[in-house]
């Protein structure tokens, strides 16, 4: 019984992974594979649901491209019975978001096998599009080389998106199968390990040599996580300094035009329609006049700060730090920095770690008789 | 354990050999052992068994143990316990019954008290009042303890000084209460 096996990559990382996916897709019980693929018409990577093994030659799960959080796509695939099992290749933060969505009944883990690959991060979409006019496979190679070779993934001066730089959870621990890059001999073979029974069952059926986890992995992971943590702390410090009053926060968000793209991009903002887009916020004309009259002037559209604070209150405990909010902002507001920084204390307060386990209930739906007594009273 | 064995009470005995106590037991049966009687009793400090303790023994038919104690003999019939007993039990009366029972049995440890009482009443019967000298003389004689009069000497002198003791010996004919006493005895024997 193989808990860990090896994926041969002596022909290169991407060809090795593609072969692994082809082999997976060839299993009769697997209906399709969802994996980031290069679009045929452009040097762009997007999650793609592949049924034809030949099409897996475009698969590229290692490219530093992260145009959207695929958890939302997996949600679409799994909300109801699909009639076949899908293997989804996801980043760690996508898996965490997926687990949150399962708790919110927006996705199901039945008929799904998640393959996670140690995440080396990605560029902001704008940056990736600038870098990827060249051969994407080649860019991917240089990126992986930098990221695993002690560098920080910077290629030609383009560096990781801030959220990725600050991500301290690159290992996809919630996956059924984990493909290890960190600490692996990337010239020869990548260890793949089963984290669940489902993963183990699939792994057993694939024709892969058994192995043990490389000893170097633990250290490699620790080094990366420590670096990311310090980057995260630095990011937090900077962000806090920029937002430590309501006025500063307003300035931070000054460019916001209430397009609500951030919440569309957010994998855990699961509402069909954001409350700010509903009739509750269809204010009466007299209300605008009232506000203007009271404060002397009122910015329009109104409710900008209200919107962002509400999003923090609603989704802060579930924020997985994927950074898609920043990616989506047309005005370039560094939203991920704000969200990651402001959410951390919320998650700590409820000892809630989004994406850690399906067993953990979202904090606001639960309670205990005796808790948080420090917030009661006026002393 | 050995001690427990010795002092264990066999409730099987409860139904037997308690005829002497039955009447008194019936008086205190509704007792709930709340202890109000003990708490109320002004003489409790001098008693070897607390009243509650004693009533419990009565209920359990421990005639000998009850009669071996001095508790009931120390009852001064103040009626506090009867007044306060939540069950409204006639405790003072039951104490009196115990005294009578003890008196009939002439229990050695209660001899002094019994003689004192009997001579006191005999004096009253004869004279319609207590003739202290006669009463005490007879009491001392019956106690047959040559040192006893000395124990009362101090008190006797004090009472004498205050004119509380009549020194004259009985002289004025027969007691006026004899008929009364006889009538009571007759009525009691009838009922």
């Amino acid at each position: 019984m193989a808990k860990t096996a090896l994926i041969p990559v002596d022909n290169g990382l991407l060809p090795g992974l593609r072969e692994f996916l082809r082999q997976t897709l060839s299993r009769p019980e697997i209906a399709a594979v969802l994996v980031p693929c290069q679009l045929p018409m452009k040097a762009m990577i997007l999650p793609t649901l592949v049924n034809d093994p030949e099409r897996l030659s475009a698969a590229n799960p290692l490219a530093p491209a992260f145009p959207l959080n695929a958890a939302r796509m997996v949600s679409r695939l799994t909300r109801k019975a699909a009639g076949g099992t899908v293997v989804a290749v996801l980043r760690a933060c996508e898996i965490r978001a997926f687990i949150e969505l399962v708790k919110l009944k927006q996705a199901r883990s039945e008929e799904l096998i998640i393959v996670g690959i140690d995440c080396l991060g990605a560029y902001a979409t704008r940056d990736f599009l600038r870098s990827a006019h060249q051969d994407v496979d080649a860019l991917t190679g240089r990126f992986v080389e930098s990221a695993l070779g002690g560098g920080d993934g910077t290629v030609d001066g383009v560096c990781l998106a801030p959220a990725c730089q600050a991500c301290a959870e690159p290992v996809p621990s919630g996956a059924d199968l984990i493909i290890c890059l960190l600490g692996a001999d990337t010239d020869r073979a990548l260890p793949v390990t089963a984290a669940t029974e489902k993963g183990e069952a699939l792994l057993e059926r694939l024709d892969l040599p058994g192995a043990t986890m490389p000893e170097a992995r633990e250290t490699a992971v620790a080094v990366l996580v420590n670096r990311r943590r310090s980057q995260r702390e630095a990011m937090g410090e900077t962000t806090r300094a920029l937002t430590d009053s309501l006025e500063k926060l307003a300035a931070y968000l000054a460019a916001c035009v209430n397009c609500y793209n951030c919440r569309v991009a957010c994998p855990v903002c699961y509402c069909r329609e954001c409350v700010f887009a509903t009739d509750v916020f269809d204010h009466e004309p007299c209300q605008y006049l009232g506000w203007a009259g009271r404060k002397g002037a009122v910015k329009m559209p109104t409710d900008t700060l209200f919107y962002h604070l509400t999003r923090l209150a609603h989704m802060g405990t579930a924020c997985v730090g994927c950074g898609q909010c920043s990616n989506a902002c047309p005005s370039g507001i560094p939203l991920a920095e704000l969200f990651i920084t402001a959410s951390a204390p919320l998650q700590e307060a409820f000892d809630y770690h989004p994406g850690r386990s399906l067993e953990e209930k979202p904090p606001l739906a639960a309670f205990r008789d005796k808790e948080f007594e420090e917030v009661v009273g006026i002393k | 354990m050995a001690l427990a064995e010795e002092t264990a009470i066999d409730l099987g005995a409860m139904t037997q050999a308690t005829a002497a106590l039955d009447e008194i037991r019936a008086m205190v049966r509704p007792c709930i052992q709340c202890g109000t009687c003990t708490g109320s009793c002004p003489n409790e400090f001098a008693m070897d068994l607390t009243p509650r303790h004693m009533w419990r023994l009565v209920l359990l038919g421990r005639t000998e143990e009850v009669l071996a104690s001095r508790t009931f003999s120390l009852c001064s019939a103040c009626y506090l316990c009867s007044l306060r007993c939540p069950r409204g039990l006639p405790l003072t009366e039951a104490m009196g019954r115990l005294k009578q029972l003890a008196a009939r049995r002439r229990l050695p440890h209660l001899r002094s008290g019994n003689l004192f009482y009997r001579n006191f009443i005999a004096s009253v019967r004869r004279h319609g009042r207590v003739r202290e000298m006669e009463f005490m003389s007879l009491y001392f004689a019956q106690m047959m303890n040559p040192w006893l009069p000395l124990r009362y000497a101090g008190m006797g002198m004090r009472l004498l000084r205050r004119g509380k003791v009549e020194l004259r010996l009985p002289s004025r004919g027969s007691g006026r209460l004899v008929n009364l006493f006889d009538k009571v005895a007759e009525m009691e024997s009838r009922s």
Binding site: R272, K361 | A4, A8, G12, I32, G35, G39, L60
Partner: protein, 1143 residues
């Protein structure tokens, strides 16, 4: 909806009266609820904290179905329901008639304060010169003769205490609203004319009668009297017969011609009595023989006056009468001796006084301090059984409530003292005889409450401090003294004041302790059909039991009405066709009551109009002086008719009192009352006045209140929800006495019942129990009940049948039955009553099973009944109580075992006077009137020995041939007792027989001991949390037969509320789902405390069951995007209110 026209009179508006009234009102009957006090709520208006939550929670009694018919606010504020008319300060003066048609006379005491005019401003009280002990604070404070009976009640009109009032009139001039009218004081209203030719007679009569408060004039002759009668109206004329000129008889004749209603009493000398008697034939009411003194005159005049008043008594026709007069507390001063020094030692207080001390509205605002010197209390003692279990003060009964409230009070004291308080309870037996009571007591002990077994005989003041010192005897026999800061007397219960008079009027017998007596085996029925007793009126019940009995009484009342054909006579209450305004933009009519000028100073109108006009939703703003008067209300109705708005906002005073009137207005104007709102402007105005001049003149404050309400109202829409249809039949699971009783009660009210019994016959535990402690024959009861069930056309009995599966919700359940023959059928029903009973718990303790002489109580009873056991052959019987009970894991008291032991012991003694019976117990639970049987058992010579958990009895039964020897330590003697028993009887208690999956199928849950978990142990004691699912009998909790029967009747009543409706309507404040916005995340389902929401997989929608939803809004708060909305209080509405609050 079809309305029943039956009416019920409920006497007593305490907790039981409220429960009974609400039950009947919810079922559709009309209720007249009266109370002799000036407030509703009974003693509960004074109690802030109740066991076991140590809070209140009375509001949970409010209707769950058709919530809008009752007020949605704290019940201690007052009771408001469409079908309930409340008359306070009212008593019954006569009862006549028969079941179905009683004529009852009610007399309401005038309060001299017009509640319509009084706004509760309080200007009157400070000027009143009289100060008397404040009954609301149990006498701990003082109040004036004009006062608020209960400060938190609405409408909070002041009232005058006639006994204290000196009629000085200070309040009349102080009242800004002219609400006080002492001049119409009733005796002043009764005008007397004294006619006599002797001045001395005239003068003395006038002065005697004026002293009594009557208005008296006099006349010296017949003609003068006639002149006076022409000028003014008199009610009574006292006339001498022998007068110069016109004599008394002639005067009588002429006066009667002038004033036919005039009562005339003639005064006569002895010689002319015959004349006087003859005069009575021509209209004299009575005569007085001279000479007479005030003691003769005054009662006569008072009688005439009372008769006059009686003529004004209100007559009500009712089908049934529920007496729910509650009980009173024992007065420790009434004891011949007052051993506890109550009234002499200031730090000795009653339990009720303690409740007031720790009440937030009490004299020390809830701080635990001594009432007389304000010193913080650190060491406090409770003395149990004060006025209970005390033959000396006429109480050979246990009051049943004091142990638990003392435990509660001790815990409260510790809580208030922040861990700094040492609380001790001195008790004889700790009677924790209910379901959760033992655990509650244990919790108190864990928290450090000290339990000391022993009765305190007296309290004396300490020599130095005067603090109360207790002397008590420890179990070891030592006499100890202990001094406390505060000593609380746990007062027992006594018949309610006036209970005897009421019982006499209703022709009900009293029991030996003065409580009205109920019929055998019924805690509610009386000897007089149609008159039932609810709650603690018949004595010695705690809140939970009172509530059960109140519901049971409602059932009996409903039964009487039904029997009298009332429910067949349906009064069609034409549903109002309300205007559909849903598609119109809001047009609000704002009506402001100026209340003289107290709400609105005349100069401010323009400003208010301008402020409100800023909102285009305001159609018009009008000002009405005293909207509460008939004219004011008419002005409002006229304004609505003139330019029909689609919302009405009223700015006035207490919104509570307008509920019913808004509904009337709705019918009148065809605008749904949900689209009307009332804002309290007077309260804030008065609060502002208290805050000082500056605040009082904040001109924006009151308009802001209106604007906030306006913001909410204009976004309010009428909820158009389809009412849930009700399948109007019931399923009762379990054919014991509880199940049969419930089935009969429901069927008697006209609804089909399916009664499912797993066994082959009905009867449950009755056959083996045989008789009750009191000697009532249960086999006869069983025969009678089973026969009635068997021949009832509405009841279908399914014997040998079990419920295999079920689903559904209130109004529509589906249950699958399977009988032992394997036949399966599915039933549809609207409600279910779980009466699955219970049995005797199994045990292996004390050698049970190893020796033929060791029995359980049931085994003993059966062996005896079947002749396997000869009581005559027994010398000694030992009974051990609490076998496997009142300790983990079965840490509850089964309540019936101690009475059963006493019943068996007494029966043994009766058959064999020589037998010795020894009962080994922990706390003897002969609660209520069962205590008297405990006394009898003691008297019969049965020996009781208490044992502790740490020193249980030891049973030695080496083999079936060997004797059984029991050893136990006597706590008084501290010595072991040994006894060789011919029979050892173990009281193992009750094991419930309610399968968890059966309960779960209906959405109910079990408690940790396997009984049904009630929705609320005090306020909803027979309901499960799932509406439509009820339990009774042993499935609910340990109870004796009579109590089980009461729970069954109560469960039936709760079921009838639902069955009486064709549909379950939704309340205005009910959650709705905006499906287009909903992401089906299901978090609203998780947070809903009533399981009112579910995901319908087929529709892929979240659905709300409006019959379960209680409108708490938890769903709205958890829903991130407003897909869950609490209709009437949605996000947009709160945002609007916030805008206005901060504008």
């Amino acid at each position: 909806m079809k309305r029943k026209i039956g009416n019920v009179l409920v006497v007593g508006a305490g907790i039981a009266g409220i429960r009974s009234a609400l039950d009947l009102a919810e079922t559709g009957y009309g209720v007249v609820l009266i109370d002799k006090a000036e407030h509703s709520g009974g003693v509960l208006s004074q109690l802030d904290h109740q066991f076991p939550t140590n809070h209140c929670g009375m509001c949970r009694m409010l209707p769950l179905v058709e919530r809008d018919a009752g007020g949605q606010f704290c019940l201690r504020k007052g009771l408001f329901h469409d079908n309930i008319e409340i008359l306070l300060g009212t008593r019954v003066t006569a009862v006549a008639g028969e079941p179905g048609r009683f004529a009852v006379s009610l007399r309401t005491r005038p309060t001299w304060v017009d509640p319509q005019r009084c706004t509760g401003c309080g200007a009157c009280a400070p000027v009143c010169p009289v100060e008397v002990p404040d009954a609301f604070n149990a006498g701990l404070g003082l109040r004036r003769a004009i006062y608020l009976p209960v400060p938190h009640q609405v409408p909070n009109a002041y009232t005058i205490d006639p006994a204290a009032c000196t009629r000085c009139g200070a309040c009349v001039s102080a009242c800004p609203c002219g609400a006080v009218t002492l001049s119409t004081a009733e005796r002043k209203d009764f005008r007397i004319l004294v006619v006599d030719d002797e001045a001395i007679v005239r003068q003395s009569l006038q002065s005697w009668l004026e002293d009594e408060g009557y208005a008296v004039d006099s006349a010296a002759s017949g003609p003068a009297a006639l002149e006076a009668l022409e000028k003014a109206e008199y009610q009574l004329m006292l006339s001498d017969i022998k007068m110069a000129g016109m004599d008394g008889v002639e005067l009588l004749r002429q006066a009667r011609a002038l004033r036919p209603d005039l009562a005339v009493v003639l005064m006569t000398a002895y010689a002319t009595v015959e004349t006087a008697v003859a005069a009575m034939k021509i209209g004299a009411l009575d005569y007085l023989v001279k000479p007479f003194d005030p003691d003769t005159l005054v009662p006569m005049v008072t009688r005439v006056h009372e008769e006059r008043l009686a003529a004004r008594d209100r007559q009500v026709e009712v089908g049934a009468i529920v007496l729910a007069g509650g009980t009173d507390y024992f007065d420790p001063r009434q004891q011949e001796v007052n051993p506890y020094g109550y009234g002499r030692i200031p730090a000795v207080v009653t339990s009720l006084e303690f409740e007031r001390i720790v009440s937030g509205s009490g004299p020390s605002a809830g701080r635990l301090v001594r009432p007389h010197d304000g010193r913080p209390v650190r060491k406090i003692a409770w003395l149990q059984c004060v006025g209970s279990r005390d033959i000396q003060c006429g109480a050979d009964f246990c009051s049943s409530i004091c142990c638990m409230y003392a435990v509660k009070e001790a815990m409260l004291a510790q809580e208030r003292g922040g861990g700094d308080v040492a609380a001790t309870i001195f008790y004889m037996d700790m009677r924790c005889f209910g379901k959760s009571f033992q655990r509650y007591r244990d919790r108190a002990e864990d928290q450090g409450v000290r339990f000391e077994r022993g009765r305190i005989h007296s309290v004396i003041p300490a020599a130095d401090s005067g603090d109360p010192t207790l002397r008590f005897v420890g179990l070891d026999g030592s006499v100890r003294d202990e001094t406390f800061d505060l000593v609380v007397l746990a007062l027992g219960q006594r018949p309610a004041r006036g209970a005897a008079e009421l019982a006499q009027m209703a022709e009900l017998p009293l029991n030996p302790w003065g409580f009205p007596a109920t019929s055998p085996l019924s805690a509610v029925r009386t000897e007089r059909p149609g008159i039932v007793i609810g709650g603690a009126f018949a004595g010695l019940r705690d809140i939970g039991e009172s509530v059960i009995l109140a519901s049971a009484a409602s059932t009996e009342a409903a039964r009487v009405l039904h029997g009298a054909g009332k429910s067949l006579a349906a009064a069609e209450n034409e549903a109002t066709a309300f205007r559909d305004v849903s598609r119109q933009p809001p047009r609000v009519l704002v009506a402001v009551c100026t209340c003289g000028s107290r709400i609105l100073p005349p100069g401010d109108r323009t400003r208010w109009v301008d402020r409100l006009k800023r909102d285009p939703a305001v159609q018009e703003t009008i000002f009405i002086d005293r909207i509460c008067t008939a004219e004011g209300w008419q002005a409002l109705a006229d304004a609505i008719s003139a330019h029909p708005p689609n919302r009405v906002l009223i700015g006035a005073c207490h919104p509570y009192v307008f509920t019913r009137r808004l509904r009337e207005l709705g019918r009148l104007t065809r605008l749904h009352p949900a689209l009307m709102d009332v804002v309290d402007l007077l309260g804030p105005r008065m609060a502002a006045a208290g805050e000082g001049a500056e605040a009082a003149h904040d001109p924006d404050s009151l308009p802001r209140h209106l604007a906030m309400a306006l913001a909410r109202l204009q976004k309010t829409c009428r909820l158009e929800l389809e009412a849930m249809p009700v399948r109007r039949q019931a399923l009762v699971v379990g054919g014991g006495i509880a199940g049969m009783t419930a089935a009969l009660a429901i069927a008697d009210c006209g609804y089909p019942v399916d009664l499912v019994e797993a066994g082959d016959r009905l009867g449950g535990n009755l056959p083996w129990i045989g008789r009750t402690l009191e000697g009532h024959d249960l086999l006869a009861l069983l025969q009678d009940t089973a026969a009635r069930v068997g021949r009832h056309p509405k009841i279908t009995v399914h014997a040998d049948t079990r419920v295999r599966g079920a689903f559904g919700q209130a109004g529509q359940f589906y249950s699958t039955l399977e009988n032992t023959g394997g036949v399966v059928q599915t039933l549809e029903h609207g409600v279910v009553v779980l009466a699955t009973g219970g049995g005797e718990a199994a045990t292996s303790a004390y050698g049970f099973g190893s020796h033929p002489a060791i029995f359980t109580q049931k085994g003993f009873q059966e062996a005896w009944a079947e002749g396997r056991l000869d009581p005559g052959a027994l010398n000694t019987v030992v009974m051990i109580q609490c076998v496997g009970s009142r300790e983990a894991p079965r840490n509850f008291c089964s309540r019936v075992c101690c009475p059963t032991a006493i019943k068996q012991a007494l029966a043994l003694k009766q058959q064999n006077p020589e037998v010795a019976v020894v009962v080994l117990y922990r706390d003897l639970m002969t609660c209520g009137f069962a205590e008297t049987w405990f006394t009898r058992a003691r008297r019969a010579g049965i020996v009781f020995v208490a044992y502790g958990l740490d020193d249980k009895p030891k049973v030695d039964a080496a083999g079936p041939e060997q004797p059984v020897t029991v050893t136990v330590t006597d706590p008084v003697l501290g010595r072991p007792l040994t006894v060789t028993a011919d029979a050892l009887v173990l009281a193992t208690g009750i094991a419930p027989g309610l399968p968890a999956d059966l309960a779960a199928a209906y959405g109910a849950t079990l408690d940790q001991d396997g009984f049904l978990a009630e929705a609320e142990s005090k306020w909803r004691p027979v309901d499960s949390l799932a509406e439509g699912v009820f339990a009774c009998g042993l499935a609910l909790g340990p109870r004796n037969v009579e109590e089980s029967i009461a729970t069954a009747a109560a469960a039936a009543q709760r079921a009838l509320r639902i069955l009486e409706r064709e549909r379950l309507p939704a309340a205005h404040l009910t959650a709705v789902v905006r499906h287009g916005l909903c992401a089906r995340c299901g978090r609203c389902i998780e947070v809903c405390p009533y399981e009112a929401r579910r995901l319908d997989e087929d529709l892929d929608r979240i659905l709300v069951n409006p019959a379960r939803c209680q409108g708490c809004g938890a769903c709205e708060a958890i829903c991130p995007n407003g897909a869950a909305v609490l209709n009437g209080l949605g996000m947009a509405q709160i945002f609007g209110m916030l805008d206005q609050a901060l504008a």
